[in-house]
């Protein structure tokens, strides 16, 4: 640790996050309003009743109000929040995060190709090796995990796990 961020830096970061949140809510609300404008009206015997767009539109209005609130509050005033509520993410590394995300996303095509057992072994082994767990330990744990999953889901609960096109396991 090369020293904690200054109070001004923290407040700047918080103001920025409030502005981002406010803009995000307004953009989302506008998107919802535009999308829901194509929803049909509910008309019964000539009387217009709350239809499919009623509730999303109501939520959009609330989101716009909240978005404006966040933007205005971040512009007008500094918030008195404690330092420890701000997460110091700047020290974090991006690569392990990307590895976890990539592994999760890759799970589907890998198990579709080589089946659940081999897929789980391959993905978990790769993840643990990346996390600098010793390779032989990673191998044992990944095989154990794959067997545990097969035992729990397929043998005990009769939940059919996906089989691979290359390896039907």
């Amino acid at each position: 640790m090369s020293g904690s961020p200054s109070r001004a830096t923290i407040l700047r970061g918080e103001k920025m996050s409030d502005t981002i949140l406010g803009v995000f809510l307004i953009v989302l609300a506008i998107f919802v309003l535009i999308s829901s404008s194509s929803f049909p009206n509910l008309v019964v015997r000539g009387e217009k009743l709350p239809g499919p767009k009623y509730f999303p539109s109501l939520l959009s209005i609330l989101m716009i109000l909240l978005g404006v609130f966040y933007i205005v509050s971040s512009t007008l005033k500094f918030k008195k929040r404690e330092k420890n509520q701000i997460e110091k993410s700047s020290k974090g590394q991006v690569s392990p995060l990307l590895v976890v995300l990539a592994s999760s996303i890759l799970f589907v095509p890998v198990i579709q190709l080589v089946g659940t057992t081999v897929g789980v072994i391959a993905i978990t082994f790769s993840m643990m090796v990346f996390f600098r767990v010793k390779w032989y330990y990673s191998a044992v744990v990944s095989v154990a995990l794959a067997l545990l999953i097969r035992l729990v889901f397929e043998v005990l609960f009769k939940v059919p796990l996906p089989e691979g096109t290359l390896i039907p396991l």
Binding site: L25, P50, L97, V100, S104, R132
Partner: protein, 492 residues
């Protein structure tokens, strides 16, 4: 007496014990719900006598709800939806090295809460169920809003951010086919979204994957330590003292849990959130949400008490209190039993035996739960990197297993990223989950109510029960601020 000796026989106690072990196992695995556990055990009980079969069903449901709190405390992944509220303070206590205390409290309060729920079921079943039947669309709408207002109060020190999260959850709940008109909303041609966003993968993503992402962002060095660094020796004496100190919290939360459970459609998950919010408001404990024992006691007492509550309308009127009792009603019909007022006269002995079994389960829950905690904690002694890898695998497979759907895996990943991003923006996640659960209920009841009244909102606020819930909601939202202003004036 013959009824009691039959219950205490090997033929009942052994299947009961095995079903409880099964409940612990399923409940502790994220992605496998208590409902799933009950559904899976029904075929096994098919060839048994009704008493043994129903004893197994009861055993599974009570233990699975408790077991969901184990990964909630250690990993911030609720094993079942009913453990959502227990993740907050349980996990915070775990981070402070008090995970063992949290779990012991959880175990004891689940047993006490369950016991109170069962006693209430026995004592006040008919009048309470009768009251719940008075609820119409207007009351159910406010009940949902009341639940959401609780969620906003639960947010760590910021009601506005809690409301933001709840509204986002409500918005996500609108995805899928509109029940009233059959029109697909925000599905963008994706068939898998027609039924709406699947709740379980969303919850696994928000609480499971996002937690993994949070942990790995601080680099590889942080992953080398064990997932839990404390001993998991259960601290019964300390926990019993804590329970005694908070006896009114246990009682209050159990009463809330039973009442909410008795309302059809509102199960153990909502009961836990409402009890948690009520405790935060009533006790004024600023530590709730940051690792308070009250924050563990309230939801864990309520969620197990709610199971007793769900049986009230199920037994008395044949109306299921939640998805578990809906399956149980099906099982009772399978056994040739007809749930409803007549069951108390036609099968009175069986009903009484079920009540006794429910009490026995609460006593057995402590040793069975203890074994479950021990088994799960062994797994968590491993390096954080290994545990996190296992969490990713179980999150993926657990999301898939519920509907055998690859799409649900992507839903889980999407919600993992959403959860991670929202926490970066200091938006609490629990209100979003509650918004997602209550969304359909709130929207349907609001719209059906308005259709009935031809757009007139007045009946929503003029009916006595509606008005009472509305006043309670306002009190929940502005009560803490109002009380603090009054106390400040008094002290100055």
């Amino acid at each position: 007496m013959t009824g009691l000796s039959e219950i205490l026989s090997f033929n009942i106690l052994l299947p009961l014990f095995l079903s409880m072990a099964f409940g612990i196992f399923v409940g502790a695995i994220p992605g496998l719900t208590a409902t799933m556990a009950v559904a899976l055990i029904i075929p096994i009980t098919y060839y048994m006598r009704p008493l043994a079969g129903l004893a197994m069903v009861l055993g599974v449901s009570f233990t699975a709800i408790f077991a969901g709190d184990i990964p909630a405390t250690f990993l911030r992944i609720p094993g079942t939806p009913a453990s959502g509220a227990a993740t907050l303070d349980g996990f915070e206590l775990s981070k402070k090295g008090k995970g063992a205390l949290a779990l012991t409290l959880d175990l004891l309060c689940s047993a006490f809460g369950g016991l109170i729920g069962v006693i209430l079921l026995i004592l006040i079943a008919p009048p309470l169920a009768n009251f719940a039947l008075k609820f119409t669309h207007f009351e159910y709408f406010w009940l949902g809003i009341f639940g959401l207002s609780m969620a906003a109060v639960l947010s760590k020190g910021n009601t506005i951010r809690g409301l933001t999260s709840a509204i986002l959850g409500l918005l996500i709940s609108t995805i899928g086919i509109d029940v009233t008109t059959g029109y697909p909303r925000f599905t963008f041609g994706v068939i898998e979204l027609m039924d709406g966003v699947s709740f379980i993968p969303a919850m696994i993503g928000l609480f499971g994957l996002s937690e993994v992402l949070k942990r790995v962002q601080f680099g590889l060095q942080a992953l080398k330590v064990p997932a839990i660094r404390e001993t998991t020796k259960l601290r019964f004496i300390e926990a019993l003292r804590e329970v005694w100190k908070n006896k009114f919290t246990v009682l209050r939360s159990s009463l809330i849990g039973t009442f909410i459970g008795a309302l059809p459609g509102a199960g153990a998950d909502i009961a836990a959130w409402v009890a948690y919010g009520a405790e935060k408001n009533i006790s004024g404990d600023a530590q709730i949400g940051k690792g308070s024992t009250k924050g563990v006691i309230a939801p864990t007492s309520a969620n197990n008490a709610a199971i007793g509550g769900t049986w009230i309308p199920a037994l008395v009127f044949g109306v299921p209190g939640d998805s578990i009792t809906a399956i149980v009603l099906g099982a009772m019909l399978m056994y040739g039993l007809r749930p409803g007022p007549m069951i108390f006269t036609e099968s009175r002995q069986l009903v009484n035996q079920l009540f006794i079994i429910a009490i026995v389960i609460q006593l057995l829950l402590i040793p069975v739960g203890w074994i479950g905690i021990k088994a799960f904690s062994l797994f968590l002694k491993l390096q954080t990197s290994i545990v996190m890898t296992a969490v990713v695998v179980f999150s993926v497979i657990g999301s898939y297993a519920l509907r055998n759907s690859f799409f649900d895996i992507y839903v889980m990943i999407a919600f993992g990223i959403i959860g991670y991003a929202l926490e970066k923006l200091a938006i609490p996640l629990p209100p979003m989950i509650l918004g997602l659960i209550l969304g359909r209920m709130i929207e349907d009841n609001l719209r059906i109510g308005l259709i009935k009244t031809k757009g007139n909102f007045l009946p929503f606020i003029t009916r006595p029960i509606s008005l009472t819930i509305l006043v309670l909601t306002i009190l929940v939202l502005i009560g803490p601020q109002l009380f603090s202003v009054i106390f400040k004036r008094k002290s100055s």
